[in-house]
């Protein structure tokens, strides 16, 4: 069964029949985590790097921001029996329009925020497909833990 993860949204699951998908990442970032032993995984689609922009909004919807959404993703997977040491982490999105590196950089800042959080918490990224101007859709198969990225007009790429 396909479970759609919307914008500023997250789903975690231990149902092997679930295929989590999040569409059209733009400058947003998709984070897929999976524990192959517990067969627990989750997919987060966050929009913005930092909840200090609007803490009240972050309390309402933590999945909008990297710094509130990423910890939630891990915690909810732990709650279903995943362990940090076993989690495979894959990242996609963070797209940019063309041009310099100073303006319209939400995609880049989204990615930098994730890197900072992972560094602080000793999380390694197993694979990623970030930056550039391509629109990306991301899939996580709960049965196998496999993650794919689809760019329109191109073949599915496994992360």
């Amino acid at each position: 069964m396909t479970v759609v993860v919307g914008v500023a949204d997250m789903k975690v699951s231990n149902q092997a029949s679930h295929l989590l998908v999040t569409h059209a990442l733009g400058s947003c970032i998709g984070v897929a985590v999976y524990d192959p032993q517990a067969r627990v995984g989750g997919l987060l689609h966050y929009m913005l790097p930092d909840s200090s922009l609007d803490p009240a909004r972050a309390a309402e919807n933590p999945y909008m921001f990297a710094d509130t959404g990423i910890p939630r993703l891990f915690r909810e997977c732990y709650a279903l029996g995943a362990s940090k040491a076993r989690l495979k982490v894959k990242v996609a999105g963070g797209g940019q329009v063309l041009g310099g590196e100073e303006h319209f950089q939400i995609g880049r800042r989204n990615y930098a925020a994730l890197r900072r959080i992972f560094l602080r918490n000793n999380v390694l990224v197993d694979n990623e497909e970030v930056g550039g101007a391509k629109p990306r859709t991301m899939f996580l198969d709960l049965a196998s833990g496999r993650v794919w990225v689809k760019v329109i007009g191109q073949n599915l790429v496994e992360l």
Partner: protein, 294 residues
């Protein structure tokens, strides 16, 4: 070989611009619009009142009272808000067909256009621009050139994307290089044929800021920025993704910082779920045909 003659020929068979939207356009920014004038506008499309009531009563507007009539909608939403709904409902026929050169989804262009209209509206509010209805309308119609150019882009898509990738050009310039004309220019032509107000035509023609003229009108810059923000938001992204130029001078012009862009995206994202009620305005063209036959 340039495809321009062929493309211009297909403009000869352009259907007329929907009359309801056209009439509603003439009421935009009028200080006062009477209920009689609005009734005059919507009477050309019997289905439109139902649409207006559905949108007016949706969570997007969050009214506490249920609206049962056009008159009530006018009182509770105000003229300009109601005009936005009428223009969007009236324009749907243009967007009924797929534009596979640009979007995989059958209604991708419609959804992108609605998103851009709502983002332009939000941006106009943020910038304290007075012409929010104009911004909404321009956002809705900025990419109409894609309706006509889709067929050609579909045939040459990989060639156009190769130009984008090898030469680092924005998509509309690659379009122009390969096809001889860009969707923005085709849209400008359509606006001329349909006799749009001059300003709306300029926005459509210059919305990717290819020419210095684009910088002479704030509305062009506003729509350009709304379009970019919608692409960054990502939902209903077209086949070309985010392959358009980001011009820092537009941010400087409006005195916007990166943090302001984040806030705009946050507000847009927060009302997104409710805004999707607008997507439902456009029906399936085939279904309409079936209904007429049956």
């Amino acid at each position: 070989m340039s495809l321009i003659p062929q493309i211009l020929r297909s403009l000869k068979h352009l259907p007329p611009f929907p009359v309801v939207a056209q009439r509603a356009l003439t009421l935009v920014n009028q200080p006062e619009v009477s209920i009689e004038e609005l009734v005059e506008v919507v009477k050309f499309d019997p289905g439109i009142t139902a649409n207006i009531l559905r949108i007016s009563n949706s969570a997007y507007f969050g009214l506490r009272r249920e609206i049962h009539s056009l008159h009530q909608a006018l009182l509770l939403l105000g003229t300009q808000e109601l005009l936005k709904i009428i223009i969007a409902s009236g324009a749907t026929r243009l967007f009924a067909n797929g534009t596979p050169g640009y979007f995989q989804e059958h209604h991708g262009l419609w959804r992108h256009s609605i998103s851009c209209a709502l983002m332009a509206d939000l941006l106009a509010r943020e910038l304290a621009a007075t012409e929010r209805t104009t911004a909404f309308t321009a956002g809705l119609l900025h990419d109409i050139g894609k309706i006509v150019l889709s067929l050609y882009v579909e045939q040459k898509f990989s060639q156009i994307m190769a130009v984008v990738e090898k030469r680092g050009l924005p998509f509309q310039q690659a379009e122009k290089l390969v096809l001889g004309i860009s969707h923005a220019e085709v849209g400008g032509e359509m606006a001329r044929i349909w006799d749009f107000p001059n300003r709306l035509r300029l926005v459509i023609h210059y919305h990717h800021l290819d020419r210095p003229e684009a910088f002479s009108d704030d509305m062009v810059l506003l729509i350009y920025l709304a379009d970019l923000l919608v692409m960054m938001f990502g939902q209903d992204l077209g086949n070309e993704g985010l392959a358009y130029d980001g011009f820092p001078q537009v941010l400087h012009h409006f005195n916007l910082r990166e943090r302001d862009l984040e806030r705009l995206l946050m507000h847009f994202g927060s009302s997104w779920g409710e805004a999707k009620v607008f997507f439902g305005l456009v029906g399936d063209g085939h279904a309409v045909q079936r209904a007429h036959r049956g």
